[in-house]
């Protein structure tokens, strides 16, 4: 294991020990459930950010985009009595369009993403406040649950949770067996069966442990399933598609990528559009989690998303980063925020802690990059 992965695990262990020592309730099933919901929002935003950071760009506007997209959906549902799926569809379209425009300007006019998305941060925030009319707009019209509101309030029944975990394990085992068979077919070396099995066994244990803990409260939260789906999609994109390979190529050395025939502009715009979709999904979940769209929804989430990427080993210089890393980084950020809330840390101290973690993560990124690790 690399130094970076290892230090991340140690940091997580230390953080969890500290919170458990301070507030024994930290490990309770109820809090673990809350943590998993908070993880979902942070991680989905960070996964979209990963695509942009891989390109050596940055997205400072995601916090405002989260507010705006959640705000559009909530307004259509509450003020205009739209059906939630239609409202969410329109909101998704808006989110992707906004990111298409930003990506287009950045790729075509070669203006730094920092500037365009900084402008985006303010413009989208302004649009957001216009949409909700500076009011608090609930996600439920007439107190009835809908597709938007259930995102963070609905839990899988136990049988569904068990079925899901079983399915996940079956897929993992099948994928392992199939990949080993294919590698043998090509005549490549295959990792020892024992090692492969123990890796699978550890994954199974983690999944089952999570299921057991979450089931003691209300079950597996729907938002965690959403996160799993988004993570799967982004993982496939980054490690199993040509598009993903191009992301790494552009971020690593854009000039060499151009000469190698990589369509830099199209890939950049595509990455921004996907990030627009993940920002919108985060917007739905974040808004549903607070029960209503308010002027502060999503605020500063861009920083958590960036921090999650960097903590998870993504390089701000581009070309390096992975989905498992970002998930781990988001887990650390979500744990920190959740633990501080449990400890009733004052808002001002929370800001300082968040900022320190971000600065620390970037500092480590610079240090480790310099060593070439």
């Amino acid at each position: 294991m690399k130094t970076r992965d290892f230090s991340l695990l140690i940091a997580l262990a230390l953080l969890w020990s500290f919170f458990t020592w301070q507030v024994p309730d930290f490990l309770s099933a109820r809090n673990m459930t809350m943590l998993s919901i908070e993880l979902s929002t942070t991680a989905v935003a960070a996964l979209g950010m990963l695509l942009i950071i891989l390109l050596a760009h940055i997205d400072l506007s995601v916090g405002s985009a989260i507010g705006l997209t959640g705000g559009i959906a909530a307004t259509l549902v509450f003020n205009h009595q739209w059906a939630a799926p239609a409202a969410m569809g329109v909101s998704l379209l808006a989110g992707v369009t906004v990111y298409f425009v930003m990506g287009f300007i950045i790729a075509k006019e070669r203006i730094p993403a920092f500037i365009i998305t900084l402008g985006g941060l303010l413009i989208l925030k302004g649009l957001f406040w216009m949409v909700i009319g500076n009011q608090t707009v609930p996600v439920k019209a007439g107190g009835e649950e809908n597709m938007l509101s259930v995102l963070t309030t609905w839990y899988l029944p136990l049988w569904a949770g068990i079925a899901l975990v079983t399915l996940a394990l079956a897929v993992l085992a099948f994928a392992l067996i199939r990949s080993r068979a294919k590698r043998r077919g090509y005549g490549f070396e295959v990792e020892s069966g024992e090692l492969a099995f123990s890796k699978l066994f550890i994954k199974a244990q983690v999944l089952i442990l999570a299921l057991v803990v979450l089931s003691q409260f209300r079950g597996v939260p729907l938002s965690l399933v959403v996160l799993a789906a988004v993570a799967l999609v982004i993982w496939v994109i980054t490690s199993h598609t040509r598009f993903g390979r191009y992301l790494y190529a552009i971020g690593g050395n854009e000039e060499a990528a151009v000469v190698s025939g990589v369509p830099v502009r199209a890939v950049t715009i595509g990455a921004f559009m996907i990030a627009g979709a993940t920002a919108t999904i985060t917007g739905f979940m974040q808004t549903a989690y607070s029960g209503a769209s308010t002027t502060t929804t999503g605020e500063l989430m861009e920083l958590d998303a960036i921090a999650a990427c960097v903590i998870g080993g993504a390089s701000l210089a581009g070309g390096r980063g992975s989905v498992p890393g970002v998930l781990a980084g988001a887990f650390l950020i979500a744990s920190l925020m959740n633990g501080m809330t449990l400890m009733a840390v004052s808002p001002e101290m929370k800001f300082i802690a968040r900022g320190s973690v971000l600065a620390l993560a970037v500092w480590m990124d610079v240090r480790l990059s310099r060593r070439g690790g």
Binding site: T241, R245, V259
Partner: protein
């Protein structure tokens, strides 16, 4: 009566791993003379300058450097500067947004009470410019000046820091002819006022216009020192190339086929709107190696990169592939049309140094939306083995490889696109002889398969040894086209400097 030299080297030898860059170089500079250094690319001119100016510190070379008769041990560039040596490089070190006066005193600002003394800066700058009889406004923004004027500002800056010996490295490479004339005129005036200078240039007409003496370097050795007044460009060329071609180049039968690519009357500008290629035409046949030669800045790389769609704005002309015009070029389209490019600057344009060999090899030839990793490993593994890349596995980082092995990865990446025409820009630069021969063998393999190879090289023996035909570029124009059997180093070199006035043309019949 011999004059005491102001700067002298005695048996100066500088070794790099695997090469002797300078071999017993003896050279002396008399006060008040302009002394030209001539030699082909790689003859050792830059190494000599770097050694004289402290970039290669004392202890890293054998032999002696003497300033005013006593041994100098420069540890840093600053040491050399304090001894009065000032180097002016091709790339100017001026800040465009500062004024002329600010640039002259940059890093050396006179202060009063801890604050920059602006009055003194402008007063002193005016005085300096006046002393050198230069009509330049010290408060002009440097970026607004022409390249030639900037060059003069750079010279004034160097002299203002008590520079007694000026080293000018290709000072006219970026200048127009009018600017060159002004620069030479001023250098002559400065010499009459006692300036001593080493002048490095490929352009023999300039050398003969300005130099008092000429030292020729070849293969790291100082061949001879001539009095300019008693010599001729022809004599200098003979000394520059006087070497026989070693039997480095594997023999092959060539059977050029039909025309694959036809370049017609290309005129191309760079991003700043300067025309760097003028009316270039040539054909590329299947199964042949077309060599492209020329001096630095002749437009060789630009020509390749433009055809490949990676550089320049076309003013006029067409590129035809199989008789059909290739529209709006981009590297992506060029690759899908069967072109492949191995760039000269591998680190900048050729490789992703942080990534693995496998990542680099497959990047240009990812055909399907989803990547089948096993298939990828099989495909890249094949070329990895056939090119004999020396590395533990495909997972090895490209950044850890030697130059020759990195070059093989770039070549492998190009080959995996299954090209019909392969552009190789200086494919053997900076790699050792063993890897060079492998590159030559690989070129021959390509032509045997009926592919066309375009080989850009600064080394004339390599061009003559490998090419079926050679196009010499000069100043962005075609200076001459030669069949292999009519190509000699003298003829090629003459074609390379053809568009300078007073240039030597040994055999106009071939141009």
């Amino acid at each position: 009566m011999p004059v005491e030299p102001i700067l002298e080297t005695r048996a100066l030898t500088k070794r790099f791993p695997g090469v002797v860059a300078l071999d017993q170089v003896s050279f002396d500079l008399r006060p008040g003379e302009i002394h030209a250094l001539c030699g082909e690319n790689g003859a050792g001119k830059s190494t000599l300058i770097k050694t004289l100016s402290g970039i290669h510190p004392t202890g890293s070379y054998e032999g002696e450097i003497l300033v005013n008769g006593s041994t100098a041990n420069f540890r840093t560039i600053a040491d050399a500067g304090n001894a009065g040596l000032a180097v002016i490089y091709q790339e100017l070190a001026l800040v465009n947004d500062l004024t002329v006066a600010e640039n002259i005193f940059l890093g050396n600002e006179p202060t009063r009470f801890g604050l920059v003394d602006w009055d003194k800066i402008y007063r002193d700058a005016s005085a300096l410019l006046e002393r050198f009889k230069l009509d330049i406004d010290p408060s002009a923004r440097t970026g607004d000046l022409g390249t030639g004027i900037k060059q003069l500002v750079e010279i004034v800056k160097a002299l203002s820091k008590n520079g007694r010996i000026l080293i000018l490295d290709e000072p006219t490479a970026a200048l127009t002819e009018a600017e060159v004339a002004v620069l030479l005129e001023i250098l002559r005036k400065l010499r009459d006022d006692g300036l001593t200078a080493i002048y490095i240039s490929h352009k023999l007409d300039e050398v003969f216009a300005i130099a008092d003496r000429i030292t020729v370097l070849r293969d790291g050795k100082s061949i001879t020192t001539l009095d300019a007044a008693d010599s001729s460009p022809g004599e200098v060329i003979r000394h520059m190339v006087g070497r026989k071609i070693e039997d480095l180049f594997p023999k092959r039968e060539s059977a050029p086929g039909e025309v694959l690519l036809s370049v017609k009357n290309l005129t191309v500008q760079n991003r700043e709107g300067r025309e760097l290629l003028h009316n270039i035409s040539f054909d590329i046949h299947a199964g042949e190696v077309l060599g492209i030669g020329g001096l630095m800045g002749a437009g060789r790389t630009e020509t390749l990169m433009h055809i490949f769609g990676a550089w320049g704005r076309r003013v006029s002309g067409t590129v035809e592939l199989d008789g059909k015009t290739m529209a709006s070029p981009s590297p992506r389209k060029a690759i899908s049309n069967g072109l492949a490019m191995v760039t000269e600057d591998r680190k900048r344009y050729g490789l992703h140094l942080d990534q693995s060999i496998g990542f680099n090899l497959s990047l240009s030839s990812l055909a399907s939306t989803f990547i089948d990793h096993n298939h990828e490993v099989e495909r890249t593994g094949e070329i990895f083995r056939s090119l004999r890349v020396k590395a533990p596995s495909l997972e090895t980082g490209v950044g850890t490889l030697s130059g020759g092995n990195q070059q093989k990865v770039v070549i492998g990446k190009a080959l995996l696109t299954d090209p019909r025409i392969v552009f190789l820009d200086e494919p053997t630069r900076g790699i050792d002889v063993g890897a060079k021969i492998e590159v030559y063998e690989f070129i021959n393999r390509l032509t045997e398969e009926g592919k066309a190879v375009v080989l850009v090289s600064s080394e004339l023996p390599e061009l003559i040894g490998m090419s079926d035909r050679i196009v010499m570029l000069a100043e962005g124009r075609v200076g001459g086209v030669f069949r292999r059997d009519e190509a000699t180093q003298e003829r090629l070199l003459a074609a390379a400097i053809r568009f300078h006035k007073d240039a030597v043309t040994t055999n106009p019949a071939h141009l």
